[in-house]
């Protein structure tokens, strides 16, 4: 049996351009929004609208931020869940390896896919070289994955930005990866709802040779700035990595101690 392709069946001129879902009479008057449906088509101003939309999804997510100190990195994130949800079962900070962790702002299911891929890539690297994956290499791999989903057919970009923190032979490092696949190394950064205010706050308080304890203090203060409602040890998550190169998430009681120090 021979299956006819779309353009071989008698569907008319538009069958040759299945990605143009606009009515034929609007073909000659294309505006920005007309390119917003298809990821693999640039808009006239040179944007990929789907990525812009993905970024606005990230901008609606709970704030996450991170600060790099001279002897470690701290990740801090809001963990706003419904009062009936068991907050101990929700994990916004996840480990990729013993010395690299990630937090996100945006769609949790999308972040799970990336974390899974990141863990597998890290183990694959170790399988070949018997050497732990450098943070920069892992970031490049994950950013590459996110970029693939901006240039393939039938997929959509990831609706998350990631903050990846780790400690390897190059020292403490912090990276942010966006839905487009761009990544930057940061000294301190914030993503999600409160990104603009948080970054301004961090910029004022950041010092080059900050100690890890100061970084934790600043991270919690910054988180508190934009927090709606009362911040306590059950609706935020803090993770730190120091010179011992072992990432650990603080327990609620440890977070409570830090919050107590703030007052």
């Amino acid at each position: 049996k021979k299956f006819k392709k779309n353009h071989e069946k008698n569907r008319g001129y538009r069958a040759h351009y299945p990605h143009f879902h606009v009515p034929y009479f609007r073909y000659f008057k294309m505006g920005e929004s007309d390119y917003s449906f298809s990821l693999t088509t640039f808009s006239p101003s040179g944007k990929l609208i789907q990525i812009e939309y993905a970024l606005s999804r990230v901008g609606k997510g709970d704030t996450s931020l991170a600060v790099k100190a001279k002897n470690g990195v701290v990740l801090a994130t809001e963990k706003k869940v419904h009062s009936l949800v068991d907050e101990t079962s929700v994990q916004k900070i996840s480990y990729i390896t013993n010395n690299i962790a990630v937090t996100y702002s945006g769609m949790a299911p999308d972040s799970r896919v990336l974390i899974r891929k990141g863990r597998k890539k890290a183990q694959k690297y170790f399988r070949t070289y018997h050497d732990p994956i450098p943070v920069a290499q892992l970031v490049k791999e994950l950013a590459g994955v996110m970029q693939e989903f901006t240039q393939s057919g039938g997929v959509r970009p990831f609706g998350v930005s990631l903050l990846i923190a780790g400690y390897d032979d190059q020292g403490p490092q912090l990276y942010q990866v966006d839905p487009s696949g761009s990544y930057w190394a940061w000294k301190a950064s914030a993503i999600g709802k409160n990104t603009v205010n948080a970054k301004t706050f961090l910029e004022k308080r950041y010092k080059e040779d900050m100690e890890l304890e100061d970084a934790i203090h600043n991270a919690i203060l910054t988180l508190k700035e934009g927090f709606e409602g009362e911040m306590n040890e059950n609706n935020i998550e803090i993770g730190i990595i120091g010179e011992d190169r072992k990432f650990r998430t603080l327990t609620p009681s440890q977070v409570k101690d830090y919050l107590g120090e703030l007052e």
Partner: protein, 206 residues
Amino acid sequence: MSILEYNGGACLAMVGKGCVAVASDLRFGAQATTIATNMPKVHRINDKCFVGLAGLTSDNQTILNKILFRTKLYSLREEREIKPSVLSNLISTMLYEKRFGPYYVEPLVCGLEGPEDKPFISAMDLIGAPLLAEDFVLIGSTVTEALFGICESLYRPNLEPEELFEIISQCLLAGVDRDALSGWGAVVHIITKDKVVSRTLRGRQD
């Protein structure tokens, strides 16, 4: 006659005090015929990392090209040079991938690694089983009995670079003299944290 004995050849690495020495013979032959007398079996990957390859010459060349490919990509991507221990694991993985149709090579990796330039040596069989030794490793299926005996007798730990050169040269030259398929001179590299000294030795030309 095993395929690993077709070309002959021998390669030896020894650990000294803050240094590593690696040496190989120079013969290239096809069974009884000697084709060339200037083919060393030790190759430089970077200033602190050397690879020795014994076994079938054809597969040696292929594997060497693959190793160079992987290590060059590694240094471009990671912006740092590969360490000998990491290279050893890489080669082990590469060889095991061909477990049921292997490369007929026996590799040897040696070098200095880490901030203290700690010596590292390792050897593998043709499917990548690694052997990490503290004193010396040798490869070359035709010379193993002769070389093991003499290395065990002459080797002692914590030799200075110049002494290590003497010991490794004596071991290799005496060992290949007992093997018809290896010899025709030797090349020795002494690797220290500041420099690599390479010397070519003229042994029995038979």
